[in-house]
Symmetry: C2
Subunit: 191 residues, 2 copies
DNA sequence: TGTTGAGGAATGAATGTTCATTCCTCAGGC
DNA sequence: GCCTGAGGAATGAACATTCATTCCTCAACA
């Protein structure tokens, strides 16, 4: 088995176990077992559990960002771009529930807070595009004149809550429901 | 010191420590220390850490429910009742940030999931009133015809996200912003 | 009123468990 | 025979929980 495969196996095992059990209910030994490597081997690829967790997160986020941005309609009007982004976000996370569970945990932990803070204050990432949309929308008087943190909450909050319910089987997000929901988010932020 | 005081001291210490550090970063010994009791004493009042955590949650929820429902305008129109509820929820949690931090953690843990499931499927609690509002709203054709889980996400998601940002100091929720935000939530669910 | 001692409450050191991380050993390629 | 990378047993720290012991309260009695 090649080095690169082993590394990927460890990350995949960590993703599956942590998504299901959470960070602190997932011992390194179990990750090693699932990845088919020795416990010590993980430390050849990752300095610590913390580093593994963070690197995994960055990988997932980057993959999501790339997927969503693939068909982003740069030239279309604001509303359409907004709806595209949150629809695709929803679709991506429905398709990849493990990613959602993992990222959710990451977000709800000390790890995620600094990331979030940076994002709202403006750094790299896919949410920046959202931030741009918000800024343009306010300027063009299409959106309500609210702080970006508020617009962001109005747009993302419902998505995350809904994904949670979808994964718990409390609601089934099929296409028509996705459409209605994303439009409701638009109603919340539009002027 | 009376028995009842000691019990309350333990709960208060647990609330403060867990809100700040999380469940698994808060050893029983630290709770005992902060409460000014011996480590073993906690077990005279609570069967286990789990029981302490659950009982604390139930207490907080009940207190919040009672506070919010105090001035609930039963007789007013749907929109007004909805705005009242989510405004007061926001206010309560802004006033009691420790309660928010604690409940948020509880919610994002295995503990909270069953509670949430029951709620959406209809059991006791303050959210039931929201559920009633949703049902009436759909019937009266005032609200969008969406599953309750979706309406609930549209109403609560933004609040929770915003509270998080408020507590992190990323936004300051003063009265006018609260008003605008709750009205934006209404825009999201109204037909 | 002062004394005593029984019963309940509180204590915190000791225990057992669960991990992250380290480190020694070894197999396989050169 | 050496070197690299892998393995997994060993280690030590962190914690929940237990339990033998101490402390406190107060009723009963002198």
């Amino acid at each position: 088995m090649k080095t690169s495969e082993k590394r990927a196996d460890i990350m995949q095992a960590a993703l599956e176990l942590i998504a299901a059990q959470g960070f602190h209910r997932t011992p390194m030994a179990e990750i090693a077992g699932k990845a088919g490597v020795g416990a010590g081997t993980i430390y050849r690829y990752f300095e610590s559990k913390d580093v593994l967790i963070k690197e995994l997160y960055r990988g997932l986020e980057e993959k999501m960002r790339a997927t969503i941005l693939e068909g982003y309609p740069v030239e279309r009007p604001l509303r359409e771009r907004f709806l595209y982004l949150i629809r695709e976000l929803l679709r991506y996370l429905i398709t990849n529930p493990l990613h959602f569970r993992y990222m959710e945990q990451y977000f709800n932990s000390p790890y995620g807070i600094s990331t979030h803070r940076e994002r709202l204050l403006g750094k790299s990432g896919n949410q920046d595009i959202l931030m741009d949309i918000f800024e343009q929308g306010i300027e063009q008087r299409v959106l309500k004149e609210l702080p970006k943190a508020v617009l962001s909450s109005l747009a993302f909050g419902p998505l995350i809550f809904l994904l949670r319910d979808h994964i718990l089987g409390l609601v089934i997000l099929e296409d028509s429901l996705i459409k209605q929901t994303t439009e409701a988010c638009w109603d919340a932020i539009k002027r």
